[in-house]
Structure formats: structure tokens, C-alpha cells
Amino acid sequence: MTMAQILFYLMGFIVLSSALFVAASKSLVRSVFMFFVTLMGLAGLYVLALADFIAITQIVIYVGGVLVLILFAFMLSARETLAVIQQQNNRFISISKLPAILLAVLFFIVMLNIIFKANLDQLDWIKASVATKNAITPGSVTVNNIGINLMTRYLLPFEAISILLMMALVGAAHLSRKEPGS
């Protein structure tokens, strides 16, 4: 058991347990802050998958942007929002949640079955990429290559995403503006 594996299991445990806490907690504020822990743990998992640039992007965009947006929306929608949450019943497992638990657990079992049957480390293209030294090894620098690829091979999706991002931001500003009459 190497150090990387120990770190992987630690990160995986943090990610899964904080996601389950988000699912189980009654309070909206607690679930938002545990979601923060989940995102940080996911960034750690990206580092262990040898994708350091994606990990930094995850921290900058998700933790810096998305989470602050969610907190804003939660603070702007006032006290009645919290009151709706408070009046739910306090039992841990209620009958109304049983179908959701069944669906999630059965879906998890199906996915586990597929993952184990696929036998991923023996796939042809993965074996070929390891044999031709196309796999990323610890210590190799990938950021230069990502930048070059983004500006050459993936230029069209990059531009499409940038236009879509601009449209989404204009649309969000338009949706949340004040009505001129009121």
C-alpha cells in the first residue's frame, strides 16, 4: 500500500461521507458548507488522478464562484425559505423517503456491477496507451500541453463554450434585474 493509495482512500472517504451528510442534513446552511468540503475533496482526487490544472480550476470556479453564488441566492431568498425547511418532520428515515433510498441504492448496485464487469484496467486502448507511454506519469508537466491543445485541437469547442458562457451570463443578469415599473 503506497502513500498515494492511502491518500486516495482518505480523499474518497471524505468525499463520500460529506456527500452523504449533504444528503442527510436538514439544515440548508450545513448542507451548503458540507458541499464545500465535498468540492475540496474532489480537487484532491483530481490531483491524485494526475490532473493538477483541473484541480486548481475546480477550486477557483466551484469553491470561489459556484458556492458563493449559492450562498448569495440563499441569503437573498429570505426567512420563509428557512421556515419551510424547519417544519419538516425530524425522523431520520421516514416512509416518504423510502422510494428515493431504494432507487439510489439499487442504482448504485447496478453501477457497481457494470464497473466490475467492465474490467477497466484491461481495456484495449488503456493497455495500448500504457505500452506506448501515452499515460501521464507522476512528475510530467501537463499544463503546457493543455494550453497548446486548447488553442489548436480544441479551438472550436473552446469558442463555442465562450459564446455560451457569455449568453448565460447576459441571460442571468437579464433574469435577475429589477422591473422598471415596480
Binding site: 493509495q5 486516495f8 474518497g12 468525499v15 463520500l16 456527500a19 449533504v22 444528503a23 440548508l28 448542507s31 458541499f35 465535498t38 474532489l42 482526487l45 483530481y46 488522478a49 494526475l50 490532473a51 483541473i54 480550476t57 470556479i61 466551484y62 464562484g65 459556484v66 449559492i70 448569495f72 441566492a73 440563499f74 431568498s77 425559505t81 419551510v84 428515493a100 439510489a104 441504492v105 442504482f107 448504485f108 457497481l112 464497473i115 466490475f116 477497466l120 484496467d121 486502448w125 488503456i126 496507451s129 499515460a135 501521464i136 510530467s140 501537463t142 500541453n145 493543455i146 491543445n149 469547442p157 473552446f158 463554450i161 458562457l165 448565460a168 441571460g171 443578469a173 433574469l175 435577475s176
Partner: protein, 101 residues
């Protein structure tokens, strides 16, 4: 070395937590958090497979695109949630059941 199967198991667990949150929560913001969890599970898969493509970086680049798209989605969804709150005074998705007027 960490095998691909481990990454996919973690991502399957995240996805199922997202499914559970979407099905049970009575609050649009928490439903949005569930959707973000499912998106993150998909991004984790992309990154884990992207390890085996050093030259083209396809997995990592599309993980970047997915992260940016998730940010755009969140901005629009939160604007919609604020508008719904202004009109209905609640953000329970089960109680928002009217069309225009």
C-alpha cells in the same frame, strides 16, 4: 498505482448521493446542489480516464469545459430561483405549479 475502478466507484457513490438529494429535498437550492454533485461525478470520470491520454489531453480538456458549463448553469438556475421566490414566496419545486397568470 490507483486503479481506474477505484475512481469509478467513488464517482458512482457521488452520483447516487446526487440522485437521492434530487428526489427527496423540498428546496430548489438543495436540488441544485444535487445536480452539481452528479455533474462532479461525471467530471471525476472524465479526469480519471484522461490520465491515459498524455498527448491530446481529451479527458482533461473536456473536464474543463464541463466545469465552465456547470458554472454557467448555476448562474442561470439561481437567477430563476430568485424570480420564482419573488413570484410565489416559496422555492419548493412541488408547490410551483402555475404558468403565466
Amino acid at each position: 498505482m490507483i486503479s481506474l475502478t477505484d475512481f469509478l466507484i467513488v464517482s458512482a457513490g457521488l452520483f447516487c448521493a446526487g440522485v437521492y438529494i434530487i428526489l427527496t429535498k423540498h428546496n430548489a437550492i438543495q436540488v441544485l446542489i444535487g445536480i452539481e454533485l452528479m455533474l462532479n461525478a461525471a467530471i471525476l470520470n472524465l479526469v480519471a480516464f484522461g490520465k491515459y491520454d498524455r498527448i491530446n489531453n481529451s479527458g482533461q480538456v473536456f473536464a474543463l469545459f464541463a466545469i465552465v458549463l456547470a458554472a454557467a448553469t448555476t448562474a442561470v438556475a439561481l437567477a430563476i430561483i430568485l424570480n420564482v421566490y419573488k413570484r410565489y414566496k416559496t422555492i419548493d419545486p412541488g408547490k410551483v405549479d402555475g404558468l403565466k397568470d
